[in-house]
Each structure stands twice: as structure tokens, then as C-alpha cells.
Symmetry: C2
Subunit: 348 residues, 2 copies
């Protein structure tokens, strides 16, 4: 079903307020969820709203979110997310990082004790909008086997980096260290679809195309030891060094069985320290054009830059409406009713 | 042929001195080449020495290396490598970064206008030895197609990250953004061996197992858009932002056709800002043990941490000698003769 972005934003904001979020944080989280849906990252969009509500109902999410600044020294920021909404902690950390990078040139913020922060591109794009290179990573509940392993140890541990471009949308890479995000497998399960071979092993350590078997087994890291190593270091930084949970100790956001213990890392790099920002943005624009115009593989009509497909989807969804799974809409409408709110999600 | 590490170190140092390197830089570069060979990274070991000599003979390498400090402000360092030995510029940048990270917590150094910096783990291990997390990346001559492309645009653009561990060798990831390093394909060609399918496309954009065809065609990035995106952002930071060459403008170190224009990025993160170093190292040790003891995939006897295979190879090579290709030994012995040096590489 197609839903208008503004309408979805309004519904999510009201529901978040009704379950205890402050006005500002409700708008922020709604914006991040809707942007994910707009960009076609449906595993990180309004599908998360029922999970947030469920977690609150179980007393497993402290909202309104009250973060605590542990360290704010030099180029370093250390934040405790106080088991609140991850989006609030991460946006605050990136805001601070951008501000501090103007003084120090580069900054590192670690967050401990928070929850799922949503799609990472939101935060790296915040930095790009301020003329900086933004970097963000987070750990997650174990779903990926180490290289050579047959059981989950790492999370999908996503990573994002973004840079501004003259006369166009920023380039933004947003990737997980697993061949496929766990959310994609959950969505396949929800839609009764198979998953491609190579994404996952079942419980016995054999390849599987059944999403249910995959969720009982383990996801595989990208590129063998390389993806495994990336997932490991993201966990070391976001989980272990931040003082958060790591490895198999993290809990999933998808079941209300306890605090997730998610950690995150955010960096901002002030481009202007190395060259005038306008020049950098112009060079990146030319660089992107050279990639687009390079020789294409057989069957490829167009070469896309990181984030380009998502930016175009967002433009299209803004005018045509956002495609939302009917199961998600039903769940949200039930929640609206339970909270005595008059509004319902309606088709555009 | 097996060669003793100390002997190889002595030969390389003398040859580098004979072709114009200063004493200190000759020892540094020799150490980095020998460490690569010790760790089994034979594409980055003494196989590079004849290339360095050839480049000097063509007036394409400025030695002794005289780097220039462009910016040294706050947490930022910007260095011009003055077309000298990349190892000198990179080691200097990491030394400075470590020093500055004690004040700022995190630092970023960019190097422009340098050459091949050798295996990246050397620099990230420098940081780990000082109780820091080290990060390093560099760009390289175009060899990898963008996602969807059929001609080289990115270099293999390697990336390394290392962290210290209590009672053991640091964990160090050292990976390229291509499925295989170009050096591995060159070595297969030298040894008349085929390469596995999936590493490369030939000139017409078709998969190939012939190293010569692969070198005329293009390498493939790891994990599709993910490896392509990593290569892109490494180039944006190391090449474009540093003021160095990028994309197709970089020249290979393997042919004396002009300055390579390589750029590099180095970061140091002071662990002690977030938790006592000893505690971090102990936790990482436990973390590594948990990974090693996790369930193994069918046919896997042991799960290795990043850098563990290389560290064990180094220990073995120290006692048994380093395996060096006979063609490389011949080339080096010819160079020693040309420079009127009495020493020759001899079998251990």
C-alpha cells in the first residue's frame, strides 16, 4: 500500500508521543524511520515502530531518552545511551562530533548502552550536509559466523560513510558486514519468499534458502575473512571499547527479552582542513561522473554511485507515496487504536 | 629458496643505501619488506626491491626521502611525501599520529604525493604496540572495476586496522577491496599458475582464470557494491582529499612510466580515553578466545583471528628462514653486482 510521507511522519510522531517519547525525540525518530522507508530501506523504516512500542510496553526502553555525557575531552566524545532510543543518542553524538570537528579536524564519538539506531546513512548524511565526511558503525545481536565458524558471533555490524558532492546528493555507503542484512531475511520470511543461496547456513552448518532455517542458523560474512574482520573490529570499537555489550551478549531488538546493549561509533572529518570545501565537492562531482561514464559490464545499463539508488527512490516516493507492507500498517493501526488515537494510516 | 631474515635485512639495507637511501630510511624500508616476507605477504616483501631500484634508476623516486609537513593542527596531520619512499612517509605519519593521539584521543593523517607504502599492517601494528587502535588505508593504480563496471577505475585500495591484545600478538586486519590483490595475480603469472574464477574479468568483460588476461582486464571488488564503495571512499580520502592522484590518474609502481601519485590515510585512537588499556587488552583476549572456541564449519579445524596466520608464519619463518622466489633472488643478486657490493643473497 502506498502511504504519503508526511502522513506517515505524522502518524509515527503521534504514536511515539502516546507511548511516552518527548515531542522532539518523537519527531526525530519518526523522521529517521520515514527517511529509511523513503529510501527503500524498508527493514529500517516504520516496520520498527511496533517493535519500539512492544519494547516500551515491556519496560525495556527508557523513554523519554535521557543520554549521559561520560567524556567530552578534545576530539573524543563518550555517551551513555541510558537504554533509550538509539536514534536520539546517535543524532546527538553526530551533532556534537560535527561541532567539535570544526575545532579538532577529526572527532570520534562512542555510544554505549543504547538501542538500534536505525539506518546509519542518516547520521553520515548529517555530517555531509555540514561539509564533512561522516562515518558511523554499530554492533548488533549475533547473527553472523566468524570466518570458518558455523554459529552466530558477530552482528551484521553495519558501517556507513558519506561525503558531500557539488550539485547533487551526497555519496553515501551504507553496508552490513554480512552478505545480507538479517532484516532482509526476516522480510522474506514475512512475505513467504526464499532467500538466495550464499546468504546463510542452517543450524547444521549447511547452506539454506529457507529464511526460517537461516534465522535459526547463521548469516555469512561478506568476502570471507574480510567481512569477518570488519565485523570484529566494528564490535571491538562499538561494543567492547564503548563499554557496551559485544559478541554473543547483545540481545536483539526484535524480541522483548532484555536490554539490547547496543553500542555505536560516529566520526566527523572536517574537509576544509585539507582543501577548500567547494573544491572538494567539485572534484567529487567530476569523480562521480567519471565512474558513471566508465565502461559497463554486460547487461548493465547504468553504474550507480553508493546511495544513488536510495536517493532516487526517495525522490520518487516523495511524489508517489511510500510502499509499506500491509502487515506493518495493520500492526500500527492496532497500536493507534490501543492508544485511543483517532488517526489511522491511510492510503495515499 | 629459504633465506635467513637477518641476512635478507642486511642485503636489502645495503642495496637501498647503495642506490641513494639514507641509513635510517634504508633500515626502515628493509624492515618493512622483510616483515612482509616473514608474515607470508610475499607480494609486498623483497619482491619490491628491484622495483624500487628500477624506479630510482629512472629518476622517478626521490631518495633520500624528504617529506614535508603541510599541516600539523589539532588532531590533523597533512604530509607531502615528495615522491619519496612511501614507507618513510607512512611511518612518520603514524609516529606523529600516535604522539598526537595522546593529546587529542583520535588523529587523522593524510599523505599526498608518495609511493607504495608496503604492507599496511606494519603501521597499524605500530599503533597497537603503543596501546592504540591503528587504522591505515592507501590508494593504488586502477585495477578494480566499480560495481557494474567492466574496466579498472579503483586501485585495490587496501585497508588495515589493528588492536592490542593481552598476552598475545595484536589482532590485525589487512585487506584489499578487490577479491584478490593484483600482486597475487602478478605472482601467479610469474609462476605460470592459473587464478581462481571470480577474481577478475578479461578485456572483453568476461571471467578469466589466466593471470595475463586478468592483468589486461579488470579485478572485481569484494561483495559487489560494498567493496566498490569501500574502494571509492578510500580513494576519496587518500587520493582526492589528500591532494594526491586518484581514480585512473594514479600510475603503477610496477612500471617506471611516471610518478605514482599514491596517497595514504593513517589514524590512531587512544584506547585509554575510553577504558584502562589493560582492561581493554584483557577483554579482547577473552573475546578472541570466545571466537576461537565457537562452533566450526564443516572441514574447518581451527578458527583464525585476523593476522593470526601471518603472526604464526612470521614465527616459523624466523626460525626456518623466509621462502623467497628464485627469480626475485636472481634479480636482487644482479643488482648487488651492478652496485659493486660484495654481498649476495644466500640460502639459509
Amino acid at each position: 500500500m502506498k502511504v504519503a510521507a508526511d502522513h506517515l511522519m505524522e502518524v509515527i510522531t503521534k504514536l511515539l508521543q502516546a507511548i511516552g517519547a518527548g515531542d522532539k525525540e518523537a519527531r526525530l525518530v519518526a523522521k529517521i524511520l520515514v527517511q529509511a522507508d523513503l529510501r527503500g530501506i524498508r527493514t529500517h523504516g516504520c516496520a520498527f515502530l511496533p517493535l519500539i512500542a512492544e519494547r516500551c510496553a515491556h519496560g525495556l526502553l527508557n523513554i523519554p531518552t535521557k543520554t549521559m555525557l561520560i567524556t567530552d575531552e578534545g576530539a573524543i566524545t563518550h555517551i551513555d545511551g541510558n537504554n533509550g532510543l538509539g536514534q536520539v543518542a546517535a543524532a546527538e553524538a553526530m551533532q556534537l562530533s560535527i561541532h567539535k570537528a570544526r575545532n579538532h579536524g577529526v572527532t570520534l564519538a562512542l555510544i554505549r548502552n543504547t538501542n538500534h539506531i536505525g539506518f546509519l546513512g542518516y547520521y553520515t548524511l548529517m555530517a555531509a550536509a555540514e561539509g564533512m565526511i561522516g562515518i558511523c558503525a554499530t554492533n548488533a545481536a549475533a547473527s553472523v559466523a566468524p570466518w570458518g565458524g558455523a554459529e552466530p558471533f558477530f552482528g551484521s555490524n553495519p558501517f556507513s560513510i558519506a561525503a558531500p558532492v557539488a550539485n547533487g546528493a551526497p555519496i553515501v555507503l551504507d553496508m552490513s558486514a554480512s552478505v545480507a542484512a538479517r532484516g532482509k531475511i526476516r522480510r522474506a520470511q514475512r512475505l513467504n519468499e526464499n532467500i538466495p543461496e550464499g546468504w546463510a547456513l542452517d543450524e547444521t552448518g549447511c547452506p539454506t534458502t529457507d529464511p526460517a532455517e537461516a534465522l535459526k542458523g547463521t548469516l555469512l560474512p561478506i568476502a570471507g575473512y574480510k567481512g569477518s574482520g570488519l565485523a570484529l573490529f566494528i564490535d571491538l570499537m562499538c561494543g567492547l571499547l564503548s563499554g557496551s555489550k559485544y559478541g554473543r551478549d547483545l540481545l536483539t531488538f526484535h524480541k522483548p527479552i532484555g536490554p539490547t546493549g547496543v553500542g555505536a561509533m560516529l566520526m566527523a572529518i572536517d574537509i576544509g582542513r585539507f582543501m577548500p570545501l567547494a573544491r572538494f565537492e567539485t572534484l567529487v562531482n567530476e569523480y562521480a561522473a567519471a565512474i558513471r561514464n566508465s565502461k559497463k559490464a554486460v547487461g548493465v545499463e547504468r553504474i550507480f554511485l553508493p546511495g544513488e539508488i536510495e536517493a532516487e527512490k526517495a525522490d520518487a516516493s516523495k511524489s508517489r507515496g511510500i510502499e509499506v507492507d500491509s502487515q506493518i500498517i495493520e500492526k500500527i493501526n492496532v497500536l493507534l487504536e490501543q492508544k485511543d488515537l483517532a488517526i489511522r494510516i491511510e492510503e495515499k
